[in-house]
Point group: C2
């Protein structure tokens, strides 16, 4: 590996991914298909609003249609599921994104499960999770897929490397662990109940931070020349990794912002285009 | 932990599980329900025949009905799926077990997926896998569930322990990893592409061997006082663990035979009874 410190620039990866989509979107257009992502936001959490706006804008820039559905925070689980079912049946809609988190009183899992697998471009359903775990998924969860895309873009080897994942959520820690495992990494999954976390992180060739605690991963913990992927995004644009300290030791590291974030959005667009390609012509 | 070497006697665990089932089977009988497991064997592999026979006999001993379906080895995927669909629709059948492996020309995954989730007592469907990964499964895969049952029976703590799983199959390595993770273990998954396997196994408080290589796990590899669970079952009644050498160092270890095997069968019976309890009365 290059002795130079490598900043894994997500903006560059996303740009490259988006470029390959333009031609595919053109070909769809010839067939009379305009890919369309429906985003559903429930309530008025400001960061969720920002995320949804970013996703819609990214669609627009690329020539993907988007339909933003904003439900008030008193929406019930049943009402939310009814909206999702309408989108499932709507042939103009190719992908459905339900922005996480929904208000506490809503059964988020039930809502996710209501999304038809063919439109689950964000990889949130249980069946989507299992397909991903078995290596047969069309739409793996976007952030885990983004992490793999960054490693691949920068030709960082995965096979036989020891990857340590900090975090075990159903849309990040668990799926990225299984994806790295399917790519022949040895995988360790850590979490809040892990003893001796620094010692375990010190074994890692690849560290994935997905804990949601600002600057949690310390430079002293990581092995010299480790590859560090920071999937955290905390208030004030701070990741889960102490960037400066880890940057000194790592061979490669994602920044926050402009690391995994933009690639996650590019992945969502890619999945939406793929869903449109798989759909029947509707005109 | 007791300084005495503990043999984790699966026969004893299975007996205890079966005892609690007897009363539940009686209560079902009062409601006019006889739990019934359908087993499907395709081809004439002698060890598969033995496994199926053992499962049927275990059913019989406990007062669970079983229907053995033996298909010849030329059966096509479509024919196998048609048989499964008939069993799905048959209200007398509560659980369906398709004996793994099926002949090479059959799409085993497609056949597994044909099993209705309510009758997937062996935990082989993708949806069953995901439910298990999310901690909401009725019927986790039987061998992984057996491993947890043994740990629980012998009150071996899981939380914050480091569990190293050797093997990553969809019905053993992957699900047991996720189950131990959901019980707050730190989990490392190793496989044929893992570098430095002895070093990683040496970190483990709990070792799960699921590789299918006779006496593969060496005594020199394990940590003093580790707990060793041997899910292997190779020709000549040999597990995946070098028992004598590991027994000397381990604080607790499952033997082969009479370790995880009998508990796996007890788990299958337990799931069949549970499936019957969840079914509608059919008389």
């Amino acid at each position: 590996m290059n002795s130079e410190k490598l900043i894994l620039d997500g903006t560059r990866v996303a740009k490259s991914m988006n470029e390959t989509l333009v031609e595919r979107i053109n070909q769809l257009s010839v067939r009379g298909i305009l890919p369309c992502l429906a985003t559903i936001l429930v309530g008025d959490d400001p960061s969720s609003e920002t995320y949804v706006r970013m996703k819609s804008s990214a669609c627009k820039r690329l020539g993907i249609d988007s339909r933003r559905i904003h439900l008030n925070k008193a929406t019930t689980t049943e009402e939310l599921i009814a909206v999702i079912q309408q989108l499932n049946e709507d042939p103009q809609i190719h992908g459905i994104l339900l922005q996480h988190p929904v208000p506490q009183h809503i059964d988020e899992r039930a809502a996710f499960e209501a999304i038809q697998i063919e439109k689950d471009v964000d990889g949130v359903t249980m069946l989507g999770f299992a397909q991903n775990a078995f290596g047969v998924s069309s739409f793996p969860s976007c952030t885990p897929a983004a992490i793999l895309a960054i490693l691949d873009y920068y030709q960082i080897p995965i096979e036989s490397k020891h990857a340590v994942i900090v975090g075990r959520s159903p849309i990040l820690g668990k799926p990225v662990s299984l994806m790295l495992l399917n790519r022949n990494a040895t995988v360790t999954i850590c979490h809040s109940k892990t003893n001796n976390l620094p010692l375990i992180i010190g074994l890692a060739d690849i560290v994935v931070a997905a804990v949601g605690k600002p600057a949690f991963i310390q430079g002293a913990w990581i092995k010299e020349s480790a590859v560090v992927l920071d999937a955290g995004y905390n208030a004030g644009n701070i990741g889960d990794v102490d960037f400066d300290a880890c940057h000194k030791k790592a061979s490669a590291i994602t920044p926050v912002p402009a690391g995994i974030g933009p690639v996650t959005i590019a992945m969502l667009l890619k999945h939406t285009v793929l869903a449109a390609e798989k759909s029947k012509i509707t005109t």
